[in-house]
């Protein structure tokens, strides 16, 4: 595969997707502290009502740097993230507590997590023009071996369902919009809801650039990472490209949902593999800052022989 064919592979990955010629740029709520607290209370009340979290008279609230924690009985906690309004519940169970008695087929596990999501009416968090679609099932398993090479049977500990929010038929790409994890005895072990509340207004309606144009920017980014003018064809193990709105993460403020192209590319080098997620905007105009190459290091000093000596003396 050459640089040119990587381009076509990425663009071709979008061939079956119905990419609109135009898309709305959706304004998002910038939640106030009161709104965040109300959202967190609604979340905990919902779980309590369904018997999915221990009952507490409002719990003990603690504000941290980028989120507020609500400490609940039995080591459980709920969290709300200040920048995005993302919500999270964790049961406090140990990772291997309450395993499944038997391995279960993926279809059975998917049914279990989907039933629980329905019961908790999680799609209500997707907003009036939104919907939730099931995306992926994850399982957590365990096994062991003794020094003689005897291995234990595999134990299934957790099943987790991940859903994607669609708004106006367009997926909101990024971390799963909802992730719900169940124990073997059907208890809710964890739940995260990362759907930003929209404010109901449209900032603009923007023309969408062709997938080929998005793919070209992504290939250029990748070549830069590789320190090359082009991406050597024989390095590429797999490559996909998706179109959708982009959520920048639960700790980041975001004023709008704007369309982007997101590639997942796996490279195979002789010393190992490399898996990259690269995102570019899908509109001519920039509605959202996409930090391509991340932050710099915070620890400023270099590792000199003097620093090593100081460390050794200490």
């Amino acid at each position: 595969m050459s640089d040119h064919t990587l381009l076509h592979k990425l663009a071709g990955a979008c061939a079956d997707a119905r990419i609109p010629g135009q898309a709305d740029i959706l304004l998002l709520q910038m939640p106030t502290q009161e709104q965040l607290h109300a959202r967190a209370r609604r979340f905990v009340a919902l779980l309590t009502e369904h018997g999915d979290c221990p009952h507490a008279n409002d719990g003990a609230w603690q504000q941290r740097d980028d989120h507020t924690v609500i400490h609940l009985p039995d080591g459980a906690r709920a969290m709300v993230y200040h920048a995005s309004g993302a919500l999270r519940y964790v049961s406090g169970l140990g990772p291997t507590d309450a395993s499944f008695e038997h391995d279960a087929e993926r279809a059975v596990l998917q049914r279990l997590v989907e039933e629980r999501a329905r019961k908790l009416t999680l799609s209500d968090w997707a907003g009036p023009n939104g919907e939730l679609r099931f995306e992926r099932l994850f399982r957590t398993l365990g096994q062991g071996a003794d020094p003689g090479g005897k291995t234990s049977p595999t134990t299934l500990f957790r099943a987790l369902g991940a859903w994607r929010q669609y708004t106006g038929g367009i997926p909101v790409l990024g971390a799963a919009s909802v992730a719900l994890r169940l124990t073997g005895d059907g208890r809710l072990d964890a739940l995260s809801v990362r759907m930003r509340p929209a404010n109901g207004e449209v900032l603009d309606r923007a023309a969408i650039i062709e997938p080929q144009a998005g793919a070209r920017q992504i290939v250029a980014q990748l070549a830069t990472l590789l320190g090359q003018k082009e991406v050597p064809g024989d390095l590429v193990e797999s490559a996909t490209l998706q179109f959708g709105y982009l959520d920048l993460g639960k700790r980041k403020s975001q004023r709008v949902l704007a369309p982007g192209y997101v590639a997942q590319i796996v490279l195979r080098h002789k010393t190992g593999r490399q898996a990259c997620v690269l995102a570019v905007r899908a509109t001519e105009r920039a509605y959202l800052d996409l930090p391509v190459y991340g932050s710099g290091i915070v620890a400023g000093h270099g590792r000199t022989e003097i620093a090593r000596c100081e460390r050794a003396i200490r």
């Binding site: 020094p147 090479g149 991940a162 490279l267 690269l278």
Partner: protein
């Protein structure tokens, strides 16, 4: 409270120039490593060192008896976080790529022995493929009283959706989650499959002739110092099993 060390390599230009690897630079390396660093220091834990790029040396994790200097670095902290490119060899030893040959370009876990007479309990490696499931027992030699190795049994993704993984792992640790849970949950965005795995050793009571008593394992009981229980160190003579716990999509 815990002492921790961070090492993170984002650029691999020297390794490429030396024809050691064609590996590309990473992108959100420092978002993750800075994130973990901020969260742990914010909760009162002590950062012993934070090295980046060519200041990260493979001798920092190599056993002092095998030409390395782990007693002053990785084995001198309770928790060690590293991010770089990873792999494993046929025997299941973890392999890590460095951007400077101090003294090797590649670390191989055949030469690691952690927790020995020193300090280390937990190693977290945000790197691809360092603990492949079929050969995971190849990691056994690194457990010289160390408790848990946290790594990936396949790909681990670098990009805009995994940039908060360091903060998530840090938050989980200081909120009192187990180390295993902090890793599995923290490095997963539940979109890309990050293949987290945690590996520990157990004693005969835990192995229980193959009917594993998982509730006794470090995977179920270890928390960061100051945030819950920590299991006792297991010397090699007490180790009756290797246990691994992984998430797959």
């Amino acid at each position: 409270m815990a002492r921790f060390g961070v090492e993170a390599i984002r650029y691999f230009s020297h390794a490429r120039a030396a024809h050691v690897s064609t590996a590309g630079d990473l992108t959100y390396t420092f978002n993750r490593s800075n994130g973990l660093d901020n969260k742990l220091r914010g909760a009162g834990h002590t950062r012993a060192f934070y090295w980046a790029n060519t200041d990260v040396w493979e001798t920092d994790i190599r056993d002092s008896d095998q030409g390395g200097d782990d007693r002053h670095w990785v084995d001198d902290v309770d928790l060690f976080w590293i991010e770089t490119h990873g792999n494993h060899d046929e025997a299941g030893h973890a392999v890590l790529l460095y951007d400077t040959p101090a003294t090797e370009w590649l670390a191989n876990s055949a030469h690691w022995q952690l927790g020995e007479d020193w300090n280390n309990e937990w190693v977290m490696a945000y790197s691809c493929d360092t603990a492949a499931l079929p050969t995971v027992t190849g990691l056994w030699n690194i457990f010289a009283r160390m408790h848990i190795y946290c790594g990936a049994w396949d790909l681990m993704w670098d990009g805009i959706t995994t940039d908060e993984c360091g903060e998530d792992v840090g938050d989980n640790l200081v909120h009192g989650d187990t180390v295993a849970h902090a890793w599995h949950d923290g490095v997963s965005d539940w979109w890309v499959d990050n293949h987290p795995i945690t590996v520990c050793v157990g004693d005969a009571a835990t192995w229980n002739d193959g009917a594993i008593r998982w509730n006794l394992s470090a995977i179920n009981r270890d928390h960061l110092w100051g945030h819950g229980t920590v299991t006792a160190d297991l010397a090699p003579a007490q180790q009756a099993c290797l246990l691994w716990y992984w998430t797959e999509g």
